[in-house]
Symmetry: C2
């Protein structure tokens, strides 16, 4: 299939099959790498005319297999749609094409003394369009919200090849349905995001970090409420249960901080100005939490190097995953008031079923996002049993089976645990309305 | 029409016609005041069976006439759906029925040492369901976002009478389309919101306010960027052009603060803890802005009474509207970098066309929301001419014709200025999907 004015580049089809922890996509029939919205639209129209199915690809860093093609799919990779189109220094907005990598965007923005707060492990390869389509989260959702809250406007190519511009640049816009939410977090199933207008923030001059040891989850919740109210610029609240911290220290070949004998650890980060009072407030707050017994022990980083060395434990997850492979990982959303029970019960059930494996708990608890990694689990049957323990409990407490990674292909069988039958029906009705021929990313989510 | 188990209360049909600055609704055929979701669903099903049209009503405080019934409509008023159903002190969430008034909610929340930040002039009468359906904004959007950002989950009765529960309680939930956005800001045209789960925040211990006089809009933009980066807890950034402040002072019978001779005034508010360093930072920041010449003059409130007396000027809008009646008012969204030009051009065109009338500019500029009031304008033709000047310019600069009040019936003729034909088509397709019979709030928005 040739599309006038676009590039057909089948050179290395294999590369576009991708690989998602064991899930490999089928071999696409053809890969297009359009360099403009008009080219995307032309490809979509041509596919429609021929009844071809489309898989949309960004940086191939998703964790739910949403970008895995079916064999014979037309792949549209947005990697060449990578231009910055507008930078508004006054209002603090940037307009970019969907294929711009996140790290490149952050660099461009910071060079002009602004700040784009989304930050995830895949920053070097992941693309803005993928961040939008999966509603990416990361470490600073507590302060800035997920990608959904950072998008002001966008342009989308619909399933019939129509280009829908909605390049809003203002924070408040109440002119009927806010259609961008149809395309945020829907993993390319309702349309192809080609351009995005993003909100920027003033660049924080410094970051302050501390690692707190806490005796119980009730005290973690207390620390969170106090920190939200009293720590200006609170940007991260990362919780690590003891087993996680001990395993991370081992993976890093370092001593466990604060002795490692406490049940829970919290990495607290606040962003702000260089005003000396900000440091006083940060240290004063933690000192008070220590005095009041909310926190059992604390390390306050005095330099950026010390801060990084605390963050190393949180960032050690990449290394840990290699050691626990083949692992099963989760990013569930759990209401704070049932988190302690959830962790205790899930851990007990996992240990009873798989006493030889490691079961690590950690997460962005400031926004209810709990990560669990369990492994190694060699057989598919074991992996499924782990899924059933973790997701079954999520359904029991009314949580979400995916707080940030999305559903894709991998979590589809469990979607009904988080969404009612009526919701699923409305989702299907939306899909029929926006993509009657099921041309875009068929078989994902629903 | 009688619905088993519900109250039919036609006692005072006249009251439910409402009155929206000149727009009076038609007389409804009947008014139902259901006290449960099941009753709402039964009424909707019964209307559907009989082909009756429904107007949904909350506190009747909307400014776009969205709650105005057509003659013969079935009105569903949610005023008796007014229970608080759950309060989560640990996670900071509250679950309420849609008819709870905003002020009552705020009171209940603050009594338990939490905080719900949405605050608008109509707080005493407006209801949470209406706040959701219109995506209400107000003075603290800069820090907390509009209602859209404060809703975690909801329950909706769809046009066919199906109850759709999506009572999510976690901040991060990436399990397919986030369906709540179909019902936020869509003014009851896609479904009837019956229950809402809201995010709460720690209650700020103090608020600090200052009034700054500024020489140019370029400096307002500079002050905003600096304040966002350096003023912890920045919660309001309310801009008032000179004519507004002078008129407000006259309406209040008070002297114009800071002499009244500056072109623009900014009311800055920051929320935070009682830590003495916070006051130092607030005053230090404003002192520095003064030294650097970003700000020409400033009053820092030293007590809550002084703060209130500064806010009186912003809140004088209610009084001003009475004096300028019959007025035409706007809440447009304008990108910051074109705001200065927009105001200058709009003012010049309005003055040229209506030299006898007052044209006042003010707004929540921290989020691009500009309010304009022009009056008195006795004739409908003059009012339309004012609309055309203001909205025509909005379209020229790529702004939004409604930043917070919504479209309803009143702004429908201008919707095409803010939304492309493709967007309007997708909106119509969504309406057909969710309410094929056009039963819910027909004739609003589209």
């Amino acid at each position: 299939m040739d599309i006038p004015g676009t590039l057909r580049e089948p050179a290395d089809l294999e590369k576009y099959r991708g690989d998602w922890s064991g899930l490999k996509g089928g071999l696409p029939a053809v890969v297009y790498r359009p360099a403009s919205t008009a080219e995307v639209a032309a490809i979509v129209r041509s596919c429609r005319a021929q009844g071809a199915r489309i898989t949309v690809q960004g940086g191939l860093t998703g964790l739910a297999g949403g970008a895995a093609p079916d064999a014979g799919d037309v792949v549209i990779s947005l990697e060449r749609l990578n231009q910055v189109e507008d930078f508004d220094d006054i209002g603090g907005t940037i307009t970019v094409q969907a294929g711009v990598p996140l790290a490149k965007l952050a660099e461009i923005v910071e060079a002009r003394d602004w700040y784009f707060p989304l930050d995830i492990g895949a920053r070097g390869s992941c693309q803005i369009g993928g961040n939008v389509s999966t509603n990416a989260g990361g470490n600073r959702v507590l302060r800035y919200g997920p990608m959904r809250d950072l998008v002001l406007g966008m342009e989308v190519v619909l399933a019939d090849g129509t280009v829908m511009p909605m390049l809003n640049r203002v924070v408040k816009n109440n002119t009927g349905p806010d259609l961008k939410h149809l395309f945020i977090g829907t993993e390319g199933t309702f349309g192809i995001v080609t351009r995005v207008v993003l909100r920027l923030f003033p660049r924080p001059a410094v970051r302050r970090s501390a690692l707190c040891a806490v005796a119980s989850f009730a005290q973690v919740a207390q620390l969170l409420k106090q920190a939200r109210g009293r720590l200006p610029g609170l940007s991260s609240f990362e919780v690590m249960w003891q087993e996680y911290l001990v395993a991370a220290a081992r993976a890093l070949g370092r001593a466990v901080p604060l002795g490692g004998g406490h049940p829970i650890y919290v990495l607290v980060e606040a962003e702000g100005s260089t005003a000396p009072q900000m440091q006083e407030i940060f240290e004063g707050f933690l000192g008070e939490m220590l005095e009041e017994g909310v926190v059992a022990d604390v390390i306050v980083a005095q330099t950026q190097e010390q801060a990084q060395s605390l963050w190393d434990f949180r960032d050690a997850i990449g290394e840990l995953l290699k050691q626990l492979s083949p692992f099963v990982s989760f990013d569930v959303g759990i209401p704070l008031r049932v988190t302690a029970d959830y962790v205790e019960t899930a851990r007990a059930r996992l240990q009873a079923a798989f006493p030889q494996a490691s079961h690590l708990f950690f997460g962005h608890l400031g926004d209810g996002n709990l990560h669990i990694v369990s492994g190694p689990h060699a057989s598919e049957a074991d992996q499924l049993a782990v899924d059933e323990i973790v997701y079954g409990l999520v359904a029991e407490v009314g949580g979400s089976i995916s707080a940030e990674h999305g559903i894709g292909r991998i979590k589809k069988p469990f979607l009904h645990l988080s969404r009612s039958e009526t919701e699923l029906e409305v989702m299907r009705a939306l899909k029929r309305t926006l993509d009657a021929g099921d041309a875009l990313n068929a078989g994902r989510i629903l």
